[in-house]
């Protein structure tokens, strides 16, 4: 409990920094936000009303304080282009991103753990190189390449899956494979090195000497311990997936957080961009916190050390 509290306190300066940086990004943006908002048809009176409504006539410090106060109330401003509160837009998009993230994480864990375990068991043999090569390739291939390739082959040539997503499970399979393969490499690498480490421990030798079957040694004794660091990494990856997949969402037109951010940049919609960045950053920060706490729960040695 004490660790959680300590970690929560240490998050405060980071959160403040994040809010400050997103605010600075808005301030240095060229062009008057009022004229961007109004477009071509406006009169002087509207400009003045809007300027004071958006607090642009106040000092920078006052603007920052009201911006920060708004964030605490859950108010991220109003989108210039979509004319809706940013908070609403984000909460409309978030379920799509969550669905995609969960499915991709499942695929990443399946490929990553599978490849890592096989590679560790067949260390330095052909299977090791094949499985590790396959999962490491996922990290090196740009995600748009995987996504476009899958779209071309499995949605255009062989029409198994739909070209774009409507939120149904079947339409999320291709994007989830693209995203999951991309994250599988680091899980595979960590699983492999951790399992290779653990397999050299004394208690594994003891188990072997007692005549425990090989597969039982691995799945009953070694795997449990070697997965500790991997689980933390998986939690952190899930958090970063929850923060939206800009490329995957834009290729498969999934209306998630990533798409929202792309639209914000293309439409020069600063409050929306700011809001999505802030939201996703907070998710990452809390995700890492949960990963830390999780590590403490599953590994008593960490708890005692802190």
């Amino acid at each position: 409990m004490k660790i959680v509290l300590k970690r929560l306190l240490s998050m405060i300066p980071v959160l403040l920094g994040v809010i400050l940086l997103t605010f600075i990004l808005l301030r240095v943006v060229p062009g008057n936000p009022v004229s961007i908002l109004l477009g071509e048809h406006y009169n002087q009176e509207t400009i003045e009303r809007l300027t004071s409504y958006m607090n642009l006539d106040k000092s920078v410090l006052e603007q920052f304080l009201s911006y920060a106060a708004g964030i605490l109330r859950g108010d991220l401003g109003v989108s210039y282009v979509m004319k809706k509160p940013v908070t609403d837009l984000i909460f409309q998009a978030f379920p799509y991103t969550v669905k995609l993230a969960l499915l991709s994480a499942a695929i990443a864990w399946f490929i990553g753990l599978g490849a890592g375990i096989v590679a560790a068991l067949k260390q330095n043999k052909l299977a090791d190189h094949l499985f590790m090569g396959f999962s490491l390739a996922g990290v090196s291939v740009p995600i748009f390449m995987t996504a476009l390739f899958l779209q071309y082959v499995f949605a255009f040539r062989i029409k198994v899956f739909p070209l774009s997503s409507d939120g149904s499970l079947i339409s999320l399979v291709l994007p989830a494979i693209a995203l999951g393969w991309n994250s599988a490499g680091s899980i595979a690498r960590m699983t492999r090195s951790s399992l290779v480490d653990v397999m050299q421990a004394d208690y594994i030798d003891t188990a072997k000497a007692k005549g425990v079957r090989h597969s039982a040694v691995i799945f009953g004794h070694a795997l449990k311990n070697s997965l500790l660091p991997v689980i933390t990494m998986m939690a952190m990856q899930l958090a970063s997936m929850m923060s939206g997949a800009v490329i995957t969402e834009s290729i498969f037109s999934i209306p998630g957080i990533g798409r929202l951010a792309t639209q914000a940049v293309q439409n020069r919609d600063m409050p929306l961009l700011q809001g999505t960045i802030l939201f996703t950053t907070i998710i990452v920060i809390f995700g890492n916190l949960i990963a830390d706490v999780l590590y403490g729960i599953i590994d008593p040695r960490i708890r005692r050390a802190v």
Partner: protein, 310 residues
């Protein structure tokens, strides 16, 4: 002063040897370790060769290719691969292979320059943070935390968006990628500075009055070289990937400059009719990134096995 420096250096190297003899470090330096890597790890050798070949191809692009970078041939639009155009032509009849060769220049420069800048920034801030401790350390590390909390793609999108109107898109990418890249470097250098700070040869150097900057840059920094080599080799491909992602979204490199990511972006609309247009630059990105990653992994295994994924 000069004498004091020489003396301290002799002293420090003496201590280093003692430390090495005591088994604290291994008896061979980074150079021998890299030589060993190339003897054992064939994948790393192949990767290094691939990287050198690609750099040469990029430099020699005008000599190799019979076409000019922007040479259009509207009678030969969207042709598939053939003998006269090995990788086909694009929607304006430009030779795809030629564009790939010239694109290599942009992509490599964008991979290397931000990596150099983030390395320099990370070294400076990491050394300051680790050496001085206290509020300097707290401030720098919290800023690093903030930078690391941002989803990097979104942050670079925001930087491209805000700076994009003021400066050339390539300078913008340099700024965005270096701003993101320094934080992991600073963390590694900080933790190493913390441990080297306590060694006897640093104590010795300080006790004979070597200046603080000299201790940091001449006594501590050289010991961080192995990690720096690994961090650099692994940072280059991540910069190339980030650039190609930004360009793919249309907010990275702007035409007429051609990077591989931009080529994929431009060929997106022809994906279902001329898939080779998108495939060629994608494969180029994949090849370079794989080569750097394999080389970096190999280097990490021999130089610094405990360095975490950065």
């Amino acid at each position: 002063m000069q004498q004091a420096k020489a003396a301290s250096e002799a002293l420090s190297s003496g201590y280093q040897e003692q430390a090495l003899a005591a088994g604290i470090g291994e008896a061979n330096g980074p150079k021998e370790k890299i030589r060993k890597l190339f003897k054992q790890n064939k994948l790393a050798v192949v990767s290094a060769i691939v990287i050198v070949v690609i750099i040469l191809l990029a430099i020699l692009a005008p000599v190799i290719s019979p076409y000019k970078e922007a040479q259009q041939d509207l009678t030969a639009r969207l042709h598939g691969p053939s003998l006269s155009h090995l990788l086909g032509t694009d929607e304006l009849g430009r030779d795809v292979l030629t564009r790939i060769l010239y694109g290599a220049r942009v992509s490599l420069v964008i991979g290397i320059i931000p990596s150099v800048i983030s390395l320099l920034l990370g070294i400076l801030l990491g050394l300051l943070s680790g050496y001085f401790g206290g509020w300097v350390d707290y401030l720098i590390m919290r800023i690093a935390d903030v930078m690391l909390s941002f989803p990097s793609l979104l942050l670079s999108m925001a930087i491209m968006y805000t700076l994009g109107r003021y400066v050339n898109s390539i300078w913008c990418i340099f700024a965005a990628l270096s701003l993101i890249g320094w934080a992991p470097v600073a963390r590694v250098i900080r933790s190493q500075t913390l441990s080297f700070k306590e060694t006897e040869y640093v104590e010795a150097a300080r006790s004979i009055g070597v200046s603080r900057s000299s201790v940091m840059f001449r006594h501590i920094l050289p010991n961080c070289t192995p990690s720096l080599i690994v961090l650099f080799t692994l940072n280059v491909p991540s910069c190339i990937l980030s650039e190609s992602t930004l360009s793919f979204l249309g907010i990275g490199v702007q035409p007429p400059a051609a990077s591989w990511g931009l080529m994929v972006n431009q060929s997106k609309q022809f994906l279902f009719t001329s898939p080779w247009l998108a495939l060629a630059p994608c494969l180029a990105i994949m090849l370079v990134v794989l080569a750097f990653n394999f080389l970096g992994d190999g280097l990490r295994d021999v130089l610094d096995p405990y360095l975490q994924d950065a």
